[in-house]
Amino acid sequence: MSKPIIQVKNLHKWYSGVHALKGVTLDVQRGEALGLVGDNGAGKSTLINILSGLHQQDEGEIIVEGQPVQISNPKDAMALGIETIYQYNSMVPIMTIARNMFIGREPVKFSIGGIGWLDEAKMREESVQAIADVDLHLRSPDALVGELSGGQRQGVAIARAMHFKSKVMILDEPTNHLSVKETAKVIGFVQGLKEQGVTAIFISHNLHHVFACCDRIVAMALGEVVLDKRANETSIEEVSEKL
């Protein structure tokens, strides 16, 4: 087996008294779709928030493609090719699709002291292309994200992550509050990542969703990894027993 794309070693995290991660160790293999499951408060979001730069670990090491890394903010994570998609936090509803695609990474025609003139034509063109690349069909990049359905929104978030050449895509409960049809669509996106060689970490409470698109299942409980098996070597029953 080739070198893991992300290695997490003995990760600890305390939130003023709450020991949310108790020495989590985990290897994520290149190209796999890893399903991360666990009960409420198990520490799944805490783990991925550390990987995506929203929080920092109190102890432990993160190794990306063989290099020990310090992920101090979301920009660091993105620079390492780690993109994260949340149910709620990924998009600004009152902004257009084109604007949302490039928040924080806007293409500019010229800039003075970090303030740059937006290349709006490029933003529109590239967002149309990026959306088409994930087989999403939207009328216009000028539509407000708030006008999209939940599934379309996740589609745009995934298109954004793909556009910025993410190597690892983390999806934290991307199917929450979605209709059955929309959920199927998001699961389709995750399956599509594999073909493109993108590693996925998929978090969900719904084991059926996880088993539908993941090669490997990692279960967490009370801040620890309690199960780590290939999807075809375990079952929904075994996993739910562990939680």
Binding site: S52, G53, L54, N73, P74, K75, M78, T84, Y86, Y88, N89, S90, M91, V92, P93, I94, M95, R99, F102, I103, G104, R105, E106, V108, S111, I115, G116, W117, L118, E120, L144, G146, E147, L148, S149
Partner: protein
């Protein structure tokens, strides 16, 4: 109907612009043509840049998701600082730079305290409103500084620029600054960060936007514009009083809201703030001309503000209902 709702959502300043047009026509008729006469326009154009500059800064800040109630006090503190220094023998430009520096510091403090301690800017800037007003009185030493005409280059800021004595330089300053801030918000990456920060803070944070820094910069811009506007007014009247600009903070918020800026952040435009400020000035002036008791002025502005907020809330609700029907 749907298209109208959508248009109004995308161009929140549209309703204000229509109201503006209507009022101009009504006042023009009711005042028997005095309203759009050169003499009356001169009065309106003298005051407008001052209110509007404050409104522009406050609008930008509100779009980033914060408030500034200290702008009225800064409006007085900046010219007072400058005038006291000039009287004390400082060259004008140095005194002006110090005055603007004071504004920058106040904006910075407003922002840092709000962000660092995670408290509502409503409270931070309410405190700053009192502190800056108090400082103004202290700096003045109890006696308004007297500046002889010609001692400072007021002409550069408030002198008439045409032969008809209609348009002052302040109109150009205002237009230039409003255009720059409008472009900053609409056409630059910084503007994108401002809107994302105010529109949905968690998303902006997750995308690595330095939201705290973005807000602090907006606080500083708001403060500087308020101070600059105050300087223009003091120069126009050639009087430097500690009481200048009282109530300005609420007019600025009203202007922003009337122009379609959301109290929740994210939604709004600089043009909207300018339209709101213009509406306020027109109503003030038009009421006098139409011989309506001037005491109704604040009533009218208040009613209009409530009307604008209710209207915007209604629009957003309509907008949401629309989305649901799109889903099916």
């Amino acid at each position: 109907m749907r298209r109208l709702v959508k248009l109004a959502l995308q161009k929140p300043e549209l309703a204000g612009a229509l109201l503006l047009l209507t009022l101009v026509i009504v006042f023009q008729i009711r005042s028997d043509g005095v309203f759009l006469s050169v003499n009356n326009l001169r009065g309106i154009l003298g005051l407008l840049p001052e209110t509007a500059l404050v409104a522009v800064g406050v609008t930008l800040l509100m779009i980033s998701g914060e408030f500034d109630l200290s702008v009225g006090s800064v409006f007085a503190l900046m010219p007072m600082t400058m005038a006291v220094l000039v009287v004390g023998g400082w060259p004008f430009w140095a005194a002006m730079a110090v005055g603007l520096g004071v504004c920058i510091v106040i904006g910075f403090v407003n922002g840092i305290i709000t962000i660092r301690y995670d408290i509502p800017s409503f409270i931070t800037t309410l405190g700053m409103m009192f502190m800056a007003r108090s400082l103004t009185v202290v700096v003045s030493g109890g006696f308004p500084p007297r500046i002889r005409p010609g001692e400072i280059p007021s002409r550069l800021f408030v002198g008439f620029i045409d032969d008809g004595n209609l348009i002052r330089a302040s109109v150009l300053w205002f237009l230039g600054i409003a255009i720059i801030i409008g472009l900053l918000l609409g056409k630059t990456n910084f503007g994108n960060w401002v809107r994302a920060t105010g529109g949905f803070l968690p998303a902006a944070k997750a995308m690595g936007i330095p939201t705290g820094r973005v807000k602090v910069v907006c606080f500083m811009i708001s403060s500087v514009l308020a101070g600059f506007a105050g300087m223009i007014q003091s120069m126009r009247l050639n009087s430097f009083l500690p009481s200048t600009g009282e109530g300005m903070e609420l007019q600025a918020v009203a202007a922003a809201v009337i122009g379609g800026t959301s109290l929740m952040g994210g939604v709004g435009s600089i043009l909207g703030g300018v339209i709101g400020a213009t509406l306020i000035r027109l109503i003030d002036n038009g009421m006098v001309l139409s011989q309506i008791d001037a005491n109704w002025f604040r009533f009218a502005i208040g009613a209009l503000t409530i009307f604008a907020v209710v209207g915007n809330a209604w629009l957003r609700k309509k907008g949401r209902a629309m989305k649901v029907s799109v889903d099916k």
